[in-house]
Symmetry: D2
Subunit: 303 residues, 4 copies
Amino acid sequence: MHHTYQPTHYHTTMGPHEPVLRVKSGDSVSTTTVDARGFDQRRVSVSPRGNPQTGPFFVEEAEPGDTLRVVLDEIVPNRDYGFCTSSLAPNVVDPDYVAELPTPVLAEWSVDVAANTATLTAPETRLGAFTLPLAPMTGCFGVAPKDGQFLNCAGSAEHGGNMDYRGFVAGTVVEFPVFQPGACFFIGDGHALQGDGEICGAGVEISMDVRFTLEVLKRRSIGWPRGENANWIFTCGNARPMDQALQHATTEMLRRLQQDYDLDAAEANLLLTQGVRYDVGNVFDPQYTIVCKLNKELLPPRK
Amino acid sequence: MHHTYQPTHYHTTMGPHEPVLRVKSGDSVSTTTVDARGFDQRRVSVSPRGNPQTGPFFVEEAEPGDTLRVVLDEIVPNRDYGFCTSSLAPNVVDPDYVAELPTPVLAEWSVDVAANTATLTAPETRLGAFTLPLAPMTGCFGVAPKDGQFLNCAGSAEHGGNMDYRGFVAGTVVEFPVFQPGACFFIGDGHALQGDGEICGAGVEISMDVRFTLEVLKRRSIGWPRGENANWIFTCGNARPMDQALQHATTEMLRRLQQDYDLDAAEANLLLTQGVRYDVGNVFDPQYTIVCKLNKELLPPRK
Amino acid sequence: MHHTYQPTHYHTTMGPHEPVLRVKSGDSVSTTTVDARGFDQRRVSVSPRGNPQTGPFFVEEAEPGDTLRVVLDEIVPNRDYGFCTSSLAPNVVDPDYVAELPTPVLAEWSVDVAANTATLTAPETRLGAFTLPLAPMTGCFGVAPKDGQFLNCAGSAEHGGNMDYRGFVAGTVVEFPVFQPGACFFIGDGHALQGDGEICGAGVEISMDVRFTLEVLKRRSIGWPRGENANWIFTCGNARPMDQALQHATTEMLRRLQQDYDLDAAEANLLLTQGVRYDVGNVFDPQYTIVCKLNKELLPPRK
Amino acid sequence: MHHTYQPTHYHTTMGPHEPVLRVKSGDSVSTTTVDARGFDQRRVSVSPRGNPQTGPFFVEEAEPGDTLRVVLDEIVPNRDYGFCTSSLAPNVVDPDYVAELPTPVLAEWSVDVAANTATLTAPETRLGAFTLPLAPMTGCFGVAPKDGQFLNCAGSAEHGGNMDYRGFVAGTVVEFPVFQPGACFFIGDGHALQGDGEICGAGVEISMDVRFTLEVLKRRSIGWPRGENANWIFTCGNARPMDQALQHATTEMLRRLQQDYDLDAAEANLLLTQGVRYDVGNVFDPQYTIVCKLNKELLPPRK
């Protein structure tokens, strides 16, 4: 079944808030998200800032210990104005270089969905009409966290959250561990495009039209967000330092290979030794994100 | 001028050792490297283990404060036997998962340069004749380190060293800061291919035929290794944790953009905010490597 | 005014839960806390595990942006049974040593408040009746976190939480930033004594009788928990890695010196260069705690 | 036998340099050290800067795999002028606070050995004649590193080096693993006193008269520097981040307890759980130092 939900309010924490919609496993939802500062497609402020989320969507069948499978069917900017900041964050450069960072100003982008481009319109620089291809993604999404926590949308953990990974584009399938009845799915923080790491603290921030499908995998327990696209399977680890995020992601991939594919521990390890790839997600916010990937060509059939 | 050098000995530290060959800026050299454990193309042990290096090559014009430009002209495995270990290293998985890592055994690979493949031959697993495409690279290379140090070939720093980055393949141009007269260039630790991070502590380790060209860029001072290939420019940061390696690489890219291209600090920052990409090099050894990349299509003309 | 509160329930998250008692600035409270697993003075399970907290105590005058000053008047174990685990946690030893850690068992301690000692009673070892002096403290306490979050009692942040610092003994004064109306003070996780770092994941865990005084400092804004005892002032930073925790604590001390004492930035820096001391709090849980200290003999008069 | 050695040159790397003196196990040496910038007791520059070391002292009996035991018999400033910098280093404060650090200037101290005090003489501040008690120590000392490396005196590793730990005062016994024939002992970088962490990058830097005794413990293999004073035994870990330094130090303490005392792994773990203390050494330089301590009252008799 397909639902259309028009948000009336947003949440800047992820947790077992009152559901905005109850759906069944297999249902899909069309809705909208506001930008990281709470402005909608009309550029009207409709929420406090802080990656406000649309949701939560309550999936009837979901119980703690299950897995929520999310298909990101569609992620499309719904206005032509995007923005970011113009300078890198102090935490991504050497401490003794921080004083040389230019004072950040608002950087504005003209987003053209038809042309599939974003073009820098301000400030004026010798970069001219700097233009990049769109790659619309969700920077922050996931489910209610473990332990009954309500976590702000700056952070990330086992439940997802503000991972700012460029791989979360339309067509991607993402799995989250379910910690609360109904899972409580949230989505927001659209980026028309983003560099790795979100190193200025922002992608090209924008409001979005999104469509997604929610499916409950009963009695399937996972530890960290897992994803799949046309060519890759991947796992996400969220922590500081990056070393620990990488440990989480790598461990989850070892577990996934043994859980989903016909591989024992020795085989899963051997496959990863020379097959592994890593991507860098958020390195700006309290928790950093590392993604561990494996090309599907290297995988044996699924169990 | 082209030189051919047949190694008679190797070094497991990088520093101002007695040169094995003196060349002029612009000269190229053909030579061979042994594998990480000191075995040559005949699989005969000719050096103690520890990423033994061929070199140092002394470049007449090079003085501290200059930059050494290295073109990796050719990197070709010169035998058909490669090896790695079969299990991940304890430092790349969650501490509470370490006890679940299988006991590592020697994993052996048949390397076929003509077919461009490496095929796992032992141990026997249900992965079968697991085959991967070759991507021959140097895991450890660089120049004599700063401060008159002799550093072992497990580590990495401003001078290069054991960075284990998959991008160091034939066709790549790499720049190193010069810390000693003659620069003292070393190369070794061939990998027929490698997963990101060298997370078992090894690529498919192999001996190599290599050819490279050395050029001195006078009065050009850089901080960290820089590279360039057909599509990308990149900078390397080597440190622990990964967070600090990323800070080094990002800072060096900001400096490079202002040094080599017609960009001021504000423009360099803005370009990176949405244009940056990161790759993960070594995450096994004492220092980790993060590579900061920018697509050449985004760059203004060189100064 | 003095209140006596007998808990009827506990919270394993810290956040703006329904207050259990409303008090006025300057009031003191006598109450009890259960142990980290939710057992009370009778060794009866009265709460789920996870450092269950007594509270929240709502302080009428407290508004976001104020500071809550807490005097830990009394912290006394109220039973004679304490426990911890017997082996170190995998994250505090070298990754390649983890496999050598003995399987942890429950370690039990007989706590004698009159004699001021805790004596190991199980398991049997050649350490014999291993006896340590009591130093009763609260491992986890603080206020509702920022951003309307509810955080579990494993973690720590600006609001306090599970800092496991040996300095939080009776007689200590602690200040917390107020993020929610009423501040919402919590206390729990008593330790009869504790080694630095809580490196097995536990102190000598025990239930407690506690008495504390709550005072609101209006329009005083601080960033991280601050403390004071007979000889020292201190600030706490909570984060991973320890390096970042140390940055938070050191920065907060620089701010404190300029806010509370007649010192400018140059003087505050100079005082710290040779006067600073650091203590190590929790190094087991998701966030680590570093304490930055300054001896009161070195301080100029308070503003 | 007692030797007196008057230095004629110094080394800013630690490694198997030509010995300045050959001694026998059990011999003691009186000599002098220059300050971190290479100035001697007359304030004359006699060496390039970078913690120049006096030595190496070659101990005849020492072979790789042995342990060198060093008694720090005497450490006394031999001039009245000490110095440090006036502001904290950018890497010990929050990245977004770096821009608020005052520009560092030279801070000068008058050192009075008879009165046992150091008094700040410049710059002028409202701290007045800020006076601290002396606690003379060596910031950088140790032996030639592993793998035939020559490491600069900014860093630290298994061989010791620039640990900047306040505990290295006269009366302390320190053990180092021997990596080179003769061990090659070095000492330098005197501090009249020092705050924890050397967070401005300097203690009160000064030249020193030192006396030490060198003893070889044959066929005793240790991993990291170990120490002992009147009340404590301790172990040092040197790495970044601090988390890894703490892992090294803690693991070495577990090994020491089983090697030197009549304790098995379970007992060593249990002893540490509630008995451990940590101190913070250098947190300024490339490697950080964490010290793991145990009070001697808690120890069973030595093996």
